[in-house]
């Protein structure tokens, strides 16, 4: 029995860290397809960022905190990097250093205009951009530029309230 417990402990130690953060390189259609396939949450928050972008880097800890604040069944937080290929290692390192886990994405280089418009026709292209989607991936709230943690929480809580009131 003791050996089984030790084996289980070793197994979970090996599987719960290094394998828990994946960054897939996708175009916009691939992104939506992948999210739809994997989603188990009522709301999905996509934060679009870049390692080049200072406000994005300042904002990411707030977004990471949302993962701890909300149950995964309620909210899934996804990071979508717009870094160029030459910075792919920086993206992974930055997310790992900020304790980001789960499935995340990096945009394929090029076709920026199509990408921006397919995300949201009102988006100017300024980073960071955040969109909150319902479980069917319908965009229900969005903003561009860096916001404080309280702003994110208020937005999410107000959407949750609307949902609870009987949608």
């Amino acid at each position: 029995m003791k050996n089984i417990i030790i084996l289980l402990f070793v197994f979970f130690s090996l599987t719960c860290n290094k394998n828990d953060m994946i960054v897939s390189v996708v175009d916009i259609d691939g992104l939506y397809k992948s999210i739809k396939k994997n989603n188990k949450s009522s709301f999905i928050l996509i934060n679009i960022w870049s390692t080049y972008c200072l406000p994005c880097i300042e904002e990411i800890p707030y977004v990471v905190n949302l993962e701890n604040r909300y149950d995964r069944k309620l909210l899934d937080v996804i990071f979508l990097s717009t870094d160029w290929d030459e910075n792919s290692d920086d993206v992974n390192k930055f997310l790992i250093n900020n304790n980001v886990y789960g499935q995340h994405y990096r945009k394929i280089e090029g076709n920026d205009q199509e990408f921006i418009n397919k995300i949201c026709s009102d988006w100017t292209g300024a980073l960071p951009f955040t969109g909150i989607y319902d479980k069917n991936l319908k965009l229900i709230s969005y903003w561009e530029g860096k916001k404080e943690e309280r702003f994110f929480i208020n937005k999410i809580d107000s959407l949750v309230k609307i949902k609870e009131k009987g949608v």
Binding site: G110, A126, K146
Partner: protein, 195 residues
């Protein structure tokens, strides 16, 4: 009913906060004074020429600016040739006492051999009037001060040799001939302006 109203208010707030100058609108803040790196006080009125004015919201540090700025001088020459004024404006007010300070602008312009006016937009006043959100972002006005093109310089920030669509260059040429611009608005990724 309350829920519907709440959602409408939520969306309106989001839309209003992102209000940007539209095609067909006049140059805003045309008399607003800006300090240029050559020491002169400039306004958009002083900068415009017979066939209009090109405004680029720019800065010293944004990686997209850094990649695109090799096209600034050729574009300013094209504007000069076509009697269109040209100005790059730094509206990063939050960084005006650090990496985007006036001294840093002078240094940045010297290192990159800027051959056009580069001005400081104190408190981001002009950027706010334009509804500009990012760098680099361009606004081309025709000879009647009307916005005729807004958006990206071209479709490839990383490499000028791999550009397929020269949006701005095409717009400058069309506007100077008083012809209709085929693509009036475009988008590209960029750094948010630090208000």
């Amino acid at each position: 009913m309350n829920r519907a109203l709440y959602i409408i208010i939520l969306f309106l707030c989001t839309l209003l906060s992102a209000r940007e100058l539209e095609i067909g609108e006049k140059i805003p803040g045309i008399d607003l004074l800006m300090k240029s790196i050559d020491g002169n006080d400039l306004t958009l009125k002083k900068l415009k020429k017979d066939n209009g004015l090109l405004v680029i919201f720019s800065c010293n540090t944004c990686p997209w600016v850094i990649r695109w700025q090799d096209r600034y001088n050729p574009l300013s020459e094209l504007c000069q040739k076509n009697e269109i004024g040209f100005v790059a404006i730094n509206s990063n007010a939050r960084l005006h006492d650090s990496v985007d300070s006036f001294d840093e602008m002078i240094y940045h312009a010297a290192v990159n051999d800027y051959k056009f006016p580069y001005t400081l937009d104190k408190n981001s006043k002009l950027a706010k009037l334009f509804g500009a959100m990012k760098t680099p972002h361009v606004y081309l006005f025709n000879k009647n001060d009307i916005l005729v093109y807004r958006g990206a310089i071209d479709d490839n920030a990383k490499d000028a040799n791999k550009v397929n669509k020269k949006y701005l260059e095409d717009a400058i040429i069309s506007s100077s001939k008083a012809e209709k611009i085929k693509v009036e608005t475009t988008k590209a990724l960029g750094c948010s302006i630090k208000f």
